[in-house]
């Protein structure tokens, strides 16, 4: 399944009395609602470009779809000193 949302947590001044926390939930499904129909509409143009450069347009779409659907449960955490960022795709 495509990831429906991205969770972003940011902490800064960690371990200090001035610690701040931020949590965002980004609704990726809204992005897909706009992006995916647009890709479908642009398919003829993309197909023409792919024919010109020698790439299979259908395989390109299939591979791109596989990559998008594989993004679920990916997360990245970066901790630097008093700064912490965690991004997760769900």
């Amino acid at each position: 399944m495509i990831p429906w949302g991205a969770s972003v947590r940011v902490h800064w001044n960690r371990g200090t009395p001035r610690e701040h926390r931020l949590w965002l939930w980004i609704p990726l499904f809204l992005v897909w609602l706009i992006f995916l129909p647009l890709l479908l509409v642009l398919f003829p143009l993309v197909a023409c470009v792919c024919v010109f450069i020698g790439v299979d347009a259908v395989e390109l779409y299939k591979t791109s779809w596989r990559m998008i659907t594989s993004l679920r449960q990916t997360w990245v955490e970066v901790r630097t000193g008093e700064f912490w960022v965690w991004v997760s795709l769900a």
Partner: protein, 153 residues
């Protein structure tokens, strides 16, 4: 297997089970026979058959204050689904054939003797499957305080 299937058909013929039940029993029989044969193959091939396939690739990088200049050091922790790697390797198959030579030359110039036209998706799939046994631990020594760990889980 033949006796079991015969028994199911006899029960169906005698009206003791319905056709739907007979079908489900036969499917369950085929599934269990399929599991037995694959289990036997796993036993013959060794312990790798019993291992479950890894789901994620993890990369851990740790650098201390001396290296990063940041108080408390730096840690980067990434988890990527193996499915993403499998989908990503298929991108190599999209490279136009006429570009293969140029890319091969570019790789050679940088000391990587790769021939893209000889790379097949099934070979890369096999490589990814074997990533399950991969563990890379790099401990910095001699003034290089960075630790890198790559493994699958």
């Amino acid at each position: 297997m033949g006796d079991d299937r015969r028994q199911i058909l006899d029960l169906l013929a005698n009206g003791k089970i319905t056709a739907d039940e007979a079908e489900r029993l036969i499917l369950a029989l085929e599934r269990s026979n399929g599991n037995e044969s694959s289990g036997a193959a796993g036993t013959v091939s060794g312990s790798s058959g019993a291992k479950s396939r890894p789901k994620y690739l993890r990369v851990l990088v740790e650098g201390d204050e001396q290296m990063t200049g940041m108080k408390g050091g730096t840690t980067v922790n990434v988890r990527v689904p193996m499915q993403l790697l499998r989908a990503g390797v298929r991108l190599a198959g999209l490279i136009p054939a006429q570009a293969h030579d140029q890319l091969d030359q570019a790789f050679s110039r940088h000391g990587v003797p790769v021939t893209l036209s000889q790379i097949r998706p099934e070979n890369l799939e096999e490589l990814i499957d074997h990533l399950g046994d991969l563990t890379v631990d790099v401990d910095g020594k001699d003034g290089n305080p960075m630790k890198v760990r790559v493994f699958c889980e």
